[in-house]
């Protein structure tokens, strides 16, 4: 039996037993261990970010509340935003891709294993440096985008924003290195037979997303360098009082900021494009269109940033053109939503917890996307930006979108990572608690925003209706806390007594399900041949392999 398809010919990873235990994790360059470390660090920061969110919600439960002082409140929501974006969603997505991509393309490891470890540790160092600010005089308190004059030394009374700048530089460099590593892995280490047009959608979207990171993160690094010059060398690039320009910071930050939100949602699309077809039992509907619309979104994401600045008063012309380009992004997003929905048609849908999260992603992200379109319409943005309507929109897209997709991804790939299935019964509790808690917290915030409650206020006047809505939102936040506890419990229980998963618990068709769970250090001994987009399906149903069906249909 010839060795069918040898994976990349580098020497097998040197295995020295005495570096077992904790040191084997710290010194590891195996993409699987690094992926799990990404997930664990993301989970830990998710706890911190969630705690900050809880304190914010408790402070806002009643008008005139004195749970925290105003400056502490500002530190909390700034850190909540920065943590959830840079230390939870991006690392967890990086962790999932670092773990799954080499398996999906039949490779032994990523292109540069040591660079993979470096990018994790640099990114973690950035996160720890960011959190060190709490005990070093005060966390950043100028919001997750630190608008210019407020983040300048003249108006900040602690060096929190300096920690924000240096922490984000670390995270930016780490993520950039990870993205370069992922692009080279996908382009160079695919198993022969898997041409770039036959890769699973998860791989294609990760490739497009990594290109987005390579082009967007340097924009962040450059703007942070200039803000550091302002803060550390007391230069005046962004201080209007000395000739600088506050609007230049907004242009620079949102030039990174909007591609950044797509860096957070594209991996969510990638996970959903894998989970829904598997549990619907049929291939993704319109593979080419979903893949093509991803490239269109990535391209458009660089041409829309000024919809964050409609209220700045750059001129009607400017707002009009950016209104058009922002609305255009709704088209490729719409294509994806319709294609996922069409994948459900005439399927045989198994509602495992992963599928429940994926289908609820469809609904929640549609609400978030549609409220996003209302911001692309310039006059509405003039009324609704910087209100709780915006807070509701961003949480529907980030929590209802990325976090729901992450949870779907974790329930989907946990068996492959640990060899045991996550308990479906507890999972069901976890899903419904998350779903109810999320909607309870953020649906009412649409109304709060329409009633005129500005964003980032540590308290509000006692006007009719405001307290009840804020109280509902706080209750929802506690239900979410409960759901996270149930999730952690599920992980603990399943790691020890979960059902043994075997190689392919979900009867899926991508290559990672062709090896054992958890995979051996060298991932594959025998990689199945790849003729279409669903290698294991072609193996299991040779008569109904994809290319035969496609040829018959005379596509």
């Amino acid at each position: 039996m010839s060795d069918i398809v040898a994976t990349d010919r580098i020497a097998p990873l040197e295995e020295n037993p005495e570096r077992a235990g904790f040191l084997s994790w710290v010194a590891s360059v195996d993409h699987k261990q690094i992926g799990i470390m990404y997930l664990l660090s993301g989970l830990a920061f998710f706890g911190l970010g969630g705690l900050e969110a809880l304190i914010i919600r408790v402070q806002l439960a009643m008008p005139g509340n004195h749970v925290v002082t105003p400056d502490t409140f500002n530190q909390l929501f700034s850190m909540h935003g920065t943590t959830m974006i840079f230390l939870v969603i991006m690392p967890v997505m990086a962790g999932l891709t670092a773990y799954v991509i080499p398996l999906m393309i039949g490779a032994r490891d990523v292109a540069f294993p040591r660079l993979n470890a470096l990018s994790f540790w640099v990114q973690l160092f950035g996160g720890v440096l960011l959190y060190f600010s709490f005990i070093a005089g005060g966390a950043p308190n100028a919001g997750w985008f630190s608008y210019a004059p407020l983040s300048e030394p003249a108006f900040s009374f602690n060096n929190g924003v300096t920690y924000w700048v240096l922490g984000l530089l670390g995270i930016g460099i780490g993520t950039l290195a990870g993205a370069i590593n992922m692009i080279v892995t996908i382009l160079k280490l695919r198993v022969p037979g898997m041409t770039i047009r036959r890769v699973p959608l998860f791989v294609w979207m990760t490739l497009v997303n990594s290109f987005l990171m390579v082009l967007a993160l340097p924009v962040l690094n450059a703007s942070l360098v200039m803000l550091a010059a302002d803060r550390l060398l007391n230069a005046h690039i962004f201080t209007p009082a000395f000739g600088g320009s506050a609007i230049l910071w907004q242009h620079y930050f949102w030039g990174f900021g909007h591609p950044e939100v797509y860096i957070m949602i594209l991996p969510a699309f990638a996970i959903i494009s894998e989970v829904i077809p598997v549990f619907a039992g049929k291939p993704i509907y319109g593979y080419e269109f979903v893949a093509g619309s991803t490239v269109a979104i990535a391209f458009l994401s660089f041409a829309v940033w000024a919809h964050h600045m409609f209220a700045v008063g750059l001129g009607h012309l400017f707002d009009l053109f950016f209104g058009i380009s922002s609305m255009t992004i709704a088209v490729p997003t719409g294509i994806k939503i319709f294609n996922w929905t069409a994948t459900l048609y005439k399927g045989r849908i198994r509602f495992t917890t992963a599928m429940k999260f994926a289908v609820s992603f469809l609904l929640m992200f549609t609400i978030g996307g549609l409220s996003g379109v209302s911001f692309a319409v310039v006059p509405l943005d003039w009324q609704l930006t910087d209100t709780y309507y915006l807070v509701a929109h961003l949480h529907y897209v980030l929590f209802g979108g990325s976090v729901f997709a992450i949870l779907a991804g974790i329930y989907y790939w946990f068996p492959k990572m640990s060899g045991r299935l996550l308990n479906e019964h507890i999972g069901n509790w976890h899903f419904w608690l998350t779903f109810v808690g999320f909607n309870l917290t953020f649906l009412v915030q649409h109304l709060l925003g329409m009633m005129g409650m500005p964003r980032r206020v540590f308290t509000y006047p006692d006007w009719p209706g405001w307290m009840t809505l804020n109280m509902i939102s706080t209750i929802g936040a506690f239900v979410l806390l409960l759901s996270v506890i149930v999730f952690l419990w599920n992980i603990m229980v399943s790691l020890k007594t979960g059902e043994i998963a075997g190689d392919n618990p979900w009867d899926a068709w991508t290559l990672e399900w062709a090896t054992t769970s958890p995979p051996p250090p060298e991932n594959f001994d025998l990689v199945p041949p790849v003729h279409g987009r669903r290698p294991l399906w072609d193996l299991k149903h040779p008569d109904r392999a994809d290319e035969l069906v496609a040829a018959a249909a005379g596509k």
Binding site: L215, N234, A235, G243
Partner: protein, 184 residues
């Protein structure tokens, strides 16, 4: 294109965006300068032009080193050393210019021109220094005689070469925007 060459090309793509933003900031504040020293009254384009020629020459010697590496003519070590020396002279020129500016009171916070100038040329100098370090490593490996045998080392040398040509290309743009444009 080999793995490490592709990685360096991607890294260069990100560096292009990074420098593009620093240049846009410089250009913006060249159009709307606040008060304080500006490019016209504090830069000496001729002197920096001379040092720039050294940097561009180092790109040429790097290409010669790469050619001699391909034909295995053994002259590669010499060319690498010349490249490092030329790069070093350029860095010396930059350091000398910085000292002159500091002496005449043009520090990073004196004016918007000074801040963006030092940020832009400072980061380019950093990239030149890192490049010199990489070339020195390749030179030492070549001197030890074991370099050039395996295909991975060819990739590695190819990546260093591309990176060095990129650093020179960036200086062409920076030099023309910062120094030449100031006197146009």
């Amino acid at each position: 294109m080999s793995k490490s060459k592709l990685a360096v090309v991607l890294f260069i793509l990100s560096e292009v965006v990074f420098f593009a933003l620093l240049i846009v900031a410089y250009v913006y504040f060249h159009a709307y300068p606040g008060e304080g020293p500006t490019a016209a009254n504090s830069l000496n384009a001729a002197r920096t032009g001379v040092f720039s020629i050294f940097l561009f020459a180092s790109s040429g010697t790097m290409a010669l080193a790469s050619r001699s590496y391909r034909v295995k003519s053994g002259a590669m070590l010499g060319w690498l050393i010349v490249t490092v020396v030329l790069g070093g002279i350029f860095l010396f020129g930059q350091a000398h210019e910085y000292m002159g500016l500091y002496a005449s009171g043009v520090t990073a916070n004196r004016s918007l021109f000074a801040t963006t100038f030092f940020t832009l040329t400072g980061f380019h100098g950093l990239h030149v220094a890192v490049g010199l370090l990489a070339i020195t490593v390749v030179a030492v490996l070549t001197a030890s005689g074991s370099f050039g045998a395996t295909e991975r080392e060819t990739e590695a040398f190819g990546s260093v070469e591309i990176y060095w040509h990129f650093v020179d290309a960036v200086w062409v743009v920076i030099f023309s925007i910062v120094y030449l444009w100031a006197f146009l």
